[in-house]
Structure formats: C-alpha cells, structure tokens
Point group: C2
Amino acid sequence: MDPRIREHAQVIADHSTGIEAGDMVVLSAPPEAEDLLVALYEAIGDRDATPIHVGQSERADRAFMRAADQEELETPRHTKALYEESDVLITIRAPRNATETSDVEPAATAARQRASQPVQEVALSKRWCLTQFPTAASAQLAETSSEAYEQFVWDAVNLDWEAQRDFQEEMVERLDSASTVRIVSGERTDLTMSIDGMIPINDDARHNLPGGEVFTAPVFESVAGEVYFDKPVYRQGREVTDARLVFEEGEVVEYAAEKNEDVLTEILETDPGARRLGELGIGMNREIDRFTYNMLFDEKMGDTVHLAVGNAYDMTVGENQEGNDSAAHVDMIVDMTTDSRIELDGEVVQRDGTFAFEEGFEG
Amino acid sequence: MDPRIREHAQVIADHSTGIEAGDMVVLSAPPEAEDLLVALYEAIGDRDATPIHVGQSERADRAFMRAADQEELETPRHTKALYEESDVLITIRAPRNATETSDVEPAATAARQRASQPVQEVALSKRWCLTQFPTAASAQLAETSSEAYEQFVWDAVNLDWEAQRDFQEEMVERLDSASTVRIVSGERTDLTMSIDGMIPINDDARHNLPGGEVFTAPVFESVAGEVYFDKPVYRQGREVTDARLVFEEGEVVEYAAEKNEDVLTEILETDPGARRLGELGIGMNREIDRFTYNMLFDEKMGDTVHLAVGNAYDMTVGENQEGNDSAAHVDMIVDMTTDSRIELDGEVVQRDGTFAFEEGFEG
C-alpha cells in the first residue's frame, strides 16, 4: 500500500478524531476509497476501537431517489440509532463519477436531506471528520492526471498540522482584536464589513481534512462594496463564472455572471438570508495551490479569501451578535495573490499573498 | 442492467423478506455486488422503505483482525443499535478473493465472532435473508467460467418459489408422519436414524436464497451405520475428500478421509456434540446441478442428502425431544442420483434421484 495512505489514516485517527480504546467508529466510504478504509481498519484495530463500514454508492442513491415517493420519505431511524451509539464518524469522499446524481430531481435530493436532518444533527454532535480519497473522477474534475491529483491530495492532507495551526493562529489573533475588514483585489473587488463581536475559528483539520482556513461571520448588515469572484462556483454540475456581487447595507443589490447567471439567481432567491453574507474565510493551506472544483480543498487554498452568501456557522457568531440565517450557504472565492490586500481597521495584514507576520511582507 | 439482477432483487424484496412501506432495511454487501445493491435500492424506494448500506470488505476485516488485540475486542454496540432499529436485514455474499482472510489466525476470527454474538442474535430476530451475487472469485472456486456461473446462480435464485414450495411440501408431509429414515447409496452408505417427534422444515427461500431443501433433526442417539460423502468438505480453504463416518448409538466411532483427514479430526474434536448428528437435509433444488464449494448452494443441490455433525437447529427439534448441542455445525453431502434410495419406515420415497411423488418413479 502507498505509504501516503497509511499516513492519511494516521492523521485521521490521531489528529482529527483522536480514536482511542473502546471507541465505536463509523467509517462511511465508497468502494473507490478501499485502500484508505483498509488502513483505517488497521489503525482502529491498533487502537482497540470497533469499526463498522457504512457503504456509499451514488448509483444506489440515485436509484433510490428516482424510485421513492418524496412525500413518503422517513427519517432513517436505524441510521440514527447507529450514530447515537457511536463516538467517531469518518466520511471519505471518493467519487467514481462526480455527476452520478445529475439526473435526480433537485426536489428529491432536498426531500431526502430534510428526512435525514435528525441523523445529521446526531452526527454533528460526535467527533466527526470529512476527508477525500483521490480518484480518477476527482482528478478529471480538477483537470489533472491521476498521479498529480494524488500528490495534490496527500500534500494537502498530510501536513504538519501543529505548525499549520500556529501559522493560522497569527491570523486568528489579529481578527480577534479587529473591528473592520476590507478586502481589495484588482479593479473589481473592494468590500468592507464589520466583524465586531464575532469569533474567528482556526480550522486545523479536525472536522475537515484538509483543513487550513481561518473563518468568521460578518456583522451581516455592515457589508458594503463590490466583489468579483476569480474562481468559478460549481453547483450541481453547472459552473458559474465571473460572478460579481454588489452589497449595500448588507444586501446584494446588484449581481451578474458570465456563464450560468440563472444558477446565481436561484442561489440568491433561496430566501432573504441568501442575499446576505454568512461567512468570511481566509485560505491559508499553501499546499492547495490550484482550484479543483472541490470546495473541501478550494476554500482552504493559500492566498485566497472566500465569502459565503447564506447561513452563518453558530460557532462563529459572538454571544451578543446575530448571525445570518438561511437555508443556503454558498462559498465563492477571490484570488489574493496579486494586486490585492486585506486590511484590518485600516492596517494591511496581507498584501499580494504575503501576510504581515511573514518574511518579505511589504506593508 | 442485466434483467436477471432486477428479478433477483424482486425475489429478495417480495418473496424472501416482504419489504413494505415504512420498513427500515439494512443491506450488507461488498463492492462486487453493486448492481444488485442498486436494484435493491430501487426496489426499496418503490416500496417506500428506507435503506442503509453496510459495506463488506474482507481486506479491511483482515487488517482489523490482524491488528486488534483479541482480549480487547468489544461487542459492536453501534451495529447492535442499528440492527435493533431495523426490520429487514439482507446480506449479499460476493467475494473478490475467497481466500482473503486465509492469513488471519483462526483464534482471531473466533474471538471476533464471539464479540459479535449479541449482534448476530438481534439479526436472527428480524426478517433476514442471505444471498449470493456471482463474482469471478466464486466462479473460480466452482471451477467454471464467469458467464456459466452467473447463469447457475440466477437459475437457482430466480425460481418459481410457489411451485418449489409445493414440490418440497410432498417430502415434508412424508417426513412428518415417518419415524425411521434409512439412507442407502452405493456400497459405502447405509445409515439409519429416527426422526420421531422432530419437525421437518420446508426451506422455500426465506432466509436462504437460493433455498430448496427440506431439513430436520435426527434423534441423535438413534443414528447407526456408515456414510461416505461423495462431495468434498471445504473448510477454511482446505478440502477434505472422500470422508467416511461410522456411527454406533449416535456417536462417530470410526472415521477416515483421503485428503486433509486432520481437518475432519479437528471438526469432530470441537466438543462431544461434534461427534453426533445435528441435521438431516434433503436437497431438492434441481437448478443446482453441480457442486460449487459454496454450502449456500451445495446443500440444496437436487438429488443429494446432507448430514451435519454438530448443532441441531432449534426449529427442527420437537417439543418433547432433545436436539444435539455443539459449537460445530458442518454439512457433508451424499450423492443420491444413482444406486441409491431414501426409505421412510421401510418404504422407498426416493430411488436414484426420483421421488415417489414424481413420474418415472420405480419403487
């Protein structure tokens, strides 16, 4: 077995989920991830914990969703019972065909997600981790060879997470003491928002592997200015390119996109909260040096900023603050490598992809 | 998809387990069985039931069992909770390599089985079905081509089970009113036993798919005579050929085998019950016309008899009778197609593979 796979399994078992003797562990993985599954079963055996493997088959899911009556979908009570008796839940993404469920009605997918909501809530109350195993389909989506994609994934995942956490903590501290953030990039992005009383989170790869971002919630009514997204938004198999949003008093008042603007319209019309900002994230994992149409990686890309319209994460919203509320949460990415800066209370904290706490910074 | 796979799924869903609206269903299947998994997800969706897919990976199981400390193995409480909240459990066998766990210590396998015993008990209290999906590894074990093996499996599985049940019921009725069974085949098999007060069961493919046998328990102390097994016994990757047992007052007093006699010794020395008979079965599924080293099929082969040393099934033991008790249960097969007969209370009920209730029977 490729030694990078065993290393990946160890990062999951020790760093992300801290598996120990007596733990009941659920491993959710499709057949493509079998090597990582095997390495994890070995790691779980080594640690005297107990595994169960829950299969993932998008072909089977598609067949079920096309056959089932949406009105009759029930909460999977058996799956909920399984999760309730578990300590650790590990989900491995490894698609064989990234568009396998493209001919399932979005309403059917949404109905199934609603029915599974109580299961999802149990899952989020456990030690959980979402990760990726490289497959040909993921490489194809990323427009790269399988070998190059494997290297990309394992470089991003098998990091020195202690060092990465310390690096990110520099940014957390600065955000923690700041009130106003300004994002400027090129001619088309100049956005200002307050983060007063909000909580910056250091994503050091507990729940997401790879991790590598610092994120918080904006005071949503404070958002003003315009933003141009350099990277496409990939949504249910459709790519929205050159998206642009204009904010006034926290609301999107104008928007446009080059390709698939109607998808952007759908997103913004989900509910009133979908026209407001729920997240500001700063990508700091420099092993992620290219866009791969996979948000688990894209949002952590080094020297990017991402903004999500829609729901704010509870953990980022301060006690006396209100987070934005929405059924949507769609991340979009701004490239910060050239002609760009992040300002905190008027002071530049990153310019052209170099942070103020790094060598070579020119304030 | 091959229409025989959809038919297989329908037999499982309707005949074997009777899936209906609201059922919580567990599907345990390895990657090789994905087509049947997809067909079952479709059938489950059609019937407004709710599936979960539990994966099977013998590579992962092997890695776990080799890594884990046997003393520290715990009951998989999460799996038990899953089963407790389920109505239907379907297990699909579909090996990629039939000898995948051949380098796991038998003691480790046994320890894991012991730890899982409480889970197994819950499973047996539900509507459950064990079936087979054809794979190259199974075909290789059966010494046939993949295409021929597929045809073999689906012919055996996709039977007219109503007609098969009626056919088998003829034998059930005769066994039900009989006291003494005598099995004679060639020069080397002549065995007599009482089945007085025991219960003959019509296996019409509820728990096993394929089904196709009628089985009961002998009054164990009544077994006398000798039996030669025409078909090999396949046990943990080793083949015992030309096995022969001699019974006196229900006990094996002499035995021999051509190849791997030590495996036979191991079986018979499991415990005192392993030297006594726990089951008499009559194979009646004539679509199973060859030996394939797979007991799920072999024991139902048309015109065979199988005898199991070891434990008797509770459902076959009458109220005022005692069934044999053992940790072992090993089936062995006698060919009844030529120079052979089954007698019930001195009356021939099958001669040279033709039953008394069939055309062409010559008493």
